[in-house]
Structures are given as C-alpha cells and as structure tokens.
Symmetry: C2
Subunit: 152 residues, 2 copies
DNA sequence: CTCGGAGTTGAAGCACACTTCAACTCAAGG
DNA sequence: CCTTGAGTTGAAGTGTGCTTCAACTCCGAG
C-alpha cells in the first residue's frame, strides 16, 4: 500500500466522494486519471487536492461548471505548486467574504424586518436592496432572481 | 386597483416570483388562495408575506419541504401576527448564525490550509473537523457527506 | 356582445449533481 | 488457474425546483 497512484476506490475512500461522483467529475473535466493496461483509472495523489477543492467550493455554492473554469486556471504542464493553489483560493476567499457579508445582512434585515412584522414587500430593505434591481420595473422585487445550489 | 385580494399575476409581479412557481408552491402547500366563481386564484395580501419568507429562506439554503414545515407552525385559523412571524424568524436566525459561523470557519481554514499548500487531506482541519466524522473509519473525510441546495 | 389578455389544468421538459443498473473485464490472493 | 471483489461503460433513473406547452376558460374594457 501507499503506492504512487490511487485506484478509484482508494480516492473515493480518502476523499469521501463516491466513485460514481468521481467518474462524473472526470466526465466534466474536473479531475483526470491515468489508465492501466486494463483500462482502470489510476489517480495521481495530486488529484486528492483537486477533489478537496471541488468539495470545498461546492460548500460555498459554486457550480461544478464554475469550479471547472477555476481549475482550468491551474498550470496543465506541471503539478500545481502551493502558490498556484493559493492564487485560486484567494479568489474563493473573496467569494466567501461576499457570501458571509450577504448572509449577515440577511440576518440583520430578518431581525429588523420580519422580526417587527413589516415584511410587506413595500419599502422593505430585504426586497428593495437598492442596487441592481432598483430600475427593474415599479413593483417590489426579491433579492436574487434565482437561487443557486450550495451547501447546508 | 389596490383591492383586498391579488390575482396570481399581481402576486407574481409584487413578489418577483413567476406565476408557475406560485402554483408550484401552492401544490406543495406553501401558500394558499381563494377561488373566484370562475376558478381563478385570489390571494390574500398576507400571502405576500409568506412568499417573502419562502424566498428569504431559500437564500439560506432551506428546502421547500423544510419551509413548508416551518410555515405549518403559523396559526391556521387567524392571520399571523407580527409575533407569529417573529417566532418563526428566530429559528431562522439561529440557522443563519450557524451558517455564517460555518462559512467563517471555512474561510479561515481555506486561508491557513489551501493558502499554505497543505491541502493534502491528511491532518487538515478542513477534512478532519474533529467532530461528527471523527470516528467514521480511518481515512480522511470531507466535511459534509452531501451538499444541500442553497443560494448564491 | 365581443375580443384579447390573463388565468386554468395536467403532463412533459429542463438543469444540476449525482446514483443505479446491467453486462462486462480486471487484478490479485489462495 | 480460479474465484472474487473492484473496476469499466453507457444508459437510465432520482430529487429538487421550477418552466413550458397545449388546450381550454375567465373577465373586463369597448
């Protein structure tokens, strides 16, 4: 054991991601695998890090397609260095910061708005954030047109 | 205009939710409507508040089924008072607090873990949070077994 | 009364992120 | 060598949250 490469079962066990999901990720171009003579997948240990990044990103509410785009920014020729990963995580960090900020605002608005019973869609800050949607017709609008997938 | 009840189109416009989605919510038991003699829906204005609550809750990553359960806790006989809504929002607030806490931890871990290049699934706090998953076999595990739907 | 926009239904379709299945092959211990 | 658990594929199925469609009815201004 502790070979240079991992079977799909080993990667699944170590990452906590089902083999079927790993094959799915591969189809989407998120991870890659070498093949043995018998056509079985063998994963470089660096793929563990990619899977880690994928799952963490999903927690933040990023779609697999967006994650694929981010991973595409990693160098393809060489094994990504810590610096490569750090560059990637910086972008994700600001995404996290923004998400945390939004949730905090939502919480405060919930306190002041639903809490006081004013949730009437009229002049409510939860429904009229005052930014992007301000000019979209006359009626009150919800904050986000369509909710995106995320983690609980 | 400014009648006591709203047509589905009016509710859709004021809430920012498509008529098809409103009918879907009704099928799931999240909102209710009276019917005219001609079988058309007429919504009490208090339904606006329910729709508001639904959309806000979705932002926090709550499924429609969970939202339905929460709304079921509102009094059915009378129009919910501000206090009724406040009770509901208190539970949601702690959910928000928890979610914010988790995201904050994720961000800090990302900084200290991916940032430094140690994202190896071995002795990494992102993968071994030390709580519920600690006794689940010997291999490293991801934080959450399955990501749930949420908002971006 | 008539016309057209708004509303009604059930059924089907879509997007995402996977899982399950059937039928088959591979690989490694006894 | 043989068995058995692990791996392979493409296709189909699942759950959530809707949207779209066809075929039809309603309602209110003119």
């Amino acid at each position: 054991m502790h070979e240079a490469t991992l079977t799909i079962g080993q990667l699944a066990e170590r990452s906590g991601v089902a083999p079927s999901a790993l094959r799915y990720y591969e189809r989407l171009g998120l991870i890659r695998a070498e093949r043995t003579g018998g056509n079985q997948r063998r994963y470089a240990r660096t793929e563990l890090r990619r899977v880690a990044f994928i799952r963490i990103s999903q927690q933040v509410g990023v779609s697999l397609e967006e994650i694929r785009e981010a991973l595409d920014s990693l160098p393809s020729g060489r094994t990504p260095t810590p610096d490569d990963w750090a560059a990637l995580s910086r972008a994700w960090r600001s995404r996290l910061d923004e998400k945390i900020r939004l949730l905090g605002k939502l919480r405060d608005d919930l306190d002041g708005c639903i809490g006081c019973g004013c949730l009437s869609l009229q002049r409510c800050t939860l429904y009229n954030p005052g930014d992007a949607l301000a000019a979209e017709g006359s009626g009150a609008r919800l904050m986000l047109p369509r909710p995106a997938p995320d983690a609980a």
